[in-house]
């Protein structure tokens, strides 16, 4: 998968070590939102996630002259979020006591792979937006109405005032294009998941 790291990360980290708050702010704004969303995979409460992430940044600042980051900053921060969230769960006690053994085991599958290769929300968003923007406006609109608003071909045809056959052709064209485009970015799984979704509203607010 493609890595999307903060540009000039090394320089920013050096500046941070020297106590540069501007560098600190750059790192903060680059990663904050994605870190909170990553935390959301572990904790249900947004406020809890934000607290975890903010305390990570506070620690990053306070320990800036002793901190050693051997991996990418992104993996370092994500690992910190995961550990912070798991601590929070331990502290609070899990409220899911009805989980089966398989549930627990599945939820505990985490590894180095996770934080090193994790595609941040904003990276994924960017890939998708780029891919969708390569479609012609008519095809894109049709595809979004079908896959993300869950409208049937018939409904779309009525809404756009074209024949159902036209809709079929457009959807086929969109699928063909997206399949080959996303393959270039090693994201065949992404394509598959898009097709199996019917309502992913939040991500698409921007595009619609």
């Amino acid at each position: 998968m493609k890595e999307q790291n903060l540009p000039y990360e090394k320089i920013l980290l050096e500046k941070l070590k020297k106590g540069d708050q501007t560098a600190f702010s750059s790192i903060f704004t680059h990663y904050y939102r994605d870190m909170v969303l990553f935390g959301g995979n572990f904790l249900a409460d947004k406020k809890d996630c934000e607290d975890v992430v903010q305390s990570i940044f506070l620690k990053l600042w306070n320990d800036r002259d002793i901190i050693q980051i051997d991996t990418y900053l992104k993996s370092y921060l994500l690992t910190a979020v995961r550990n912070g969230c798991l601590n929070e769960i331990r502290r609070k006690g899990s409220d899911h006591e009805d989980l089966s053994a398989a549930d627990v085991e599945l939820s505990e599958i985490t590894s180095e792979y996770d934080t090193n290769n994790y595609m941040l929300y904003s990276d994924l968003n960017q890939h998708l937006e780029r891919a969708l923007n390569k479609l012609s406006p008519a095809i894109k609109e049709t595809f979004l109405l079908n896959k993300f608003e869950g409208l049937r071909y018939k409904e779309i045809a009525a809404r756009l005032n074209v024949s159902e056959r036209t809709i079929e052709v457009r959807i086929a064209a969109a699928i063909k294009f997206l399949r080959s485009y996303l393959k270039e970015f090693y994201l065949p799984g992404l394509f598959f998941i898009i097709l199996s979704l019917n309502n992913v509203i939040s991500l698409w607010k921007k595009i619609n």
Partner: protein, 340 residues
Amino acid sequence: MNTDNYIESLVIKYLSGHCTEEEKEALLSWIKESEDNRIQFEALRNIWQGLNPAFNPEEIDDQKALNSVLNKINKLHWTQHPVVVYWQRSAAILLLPLLLSLIYLLVSKEPENITQQEVFAPYGTFVEVNLPDNSKVWLNAGSSLKYPTRFTKGSRKVTLQGEAFFEVESDPENPFTVHTARVDVRATGTAFNVEAYPKDSMTSVTMVKGRIGMAINQQKRFDLFPGERASFNKNTLQCKIEKTDPYKWYAWKDGLMVFRDDPLEYVFKRVGQTFNVEIVVMDKEIANQPYRATFKQESLSEILRLLQLSAPIRYVNYNQETANELALKRRKVEVYKLKK
């Protein structure tokens, strides 16, 4: 392929919470089969999580969070000065009138807990800043903006080095002022672009919406209207106002670089500013050739390649390394006319 699709749909079923216990067991044993399977599971889960964010990303306010963390950082600094704390306490106990005037001073002037913060846009990209009054600023590559964590009554002052586009929240009682080395811009509610690169002899302001007042070197005041662009030359002390298509000057905030019959020399200057490279056109005969192009979020190497495709030029001192290590050191690329 078929088993792949089966597994993928199983993973999706699991992630969306529709798996039966048997299916979960099946998935689990598939994952345990090999390292590759586990990685494939994690990759799919990653994509699923990205498409189904736990919270609405738009509701995560990173500027508010940053301000709160910066406040904590700067407060920690204060407690390291016990003398100040002691002095404030004794004043409170012994001299009530002094305390009252102290409070007055704190409220009316800059309270101590207002800190200045500075945002810097790394080269090659730009950043969006939300100011405490809900005004929005887009800060172009290599530029910095200083502003307080909270504006005091009566004025909203920010300091700019480099280039920024402002969308100022309307508030006539608290005018918004952009301070640069040579030019001050005063606005109440309006949108405009300011270019004040320290290395440039020109400082330019382009008006998009509303109305602004400009002051050069703290004197010489005049108003600027939408579609007008004022350029002040620090060497000649001349200020020129011309009509322009404003979008061209702030298209960068949408990730675009727009050139409309601009001299090649200007094209390279603009590209150089964005990526922190000094690009010098050595042959004067091509320097003034008009150039039309729109670049959208292209990398430096891509832009240079495209320019080379459409203009008869060659680069000297340019290599991939130049493109990669931009911020470490300012590199210099020379452009010559291509010999036939």
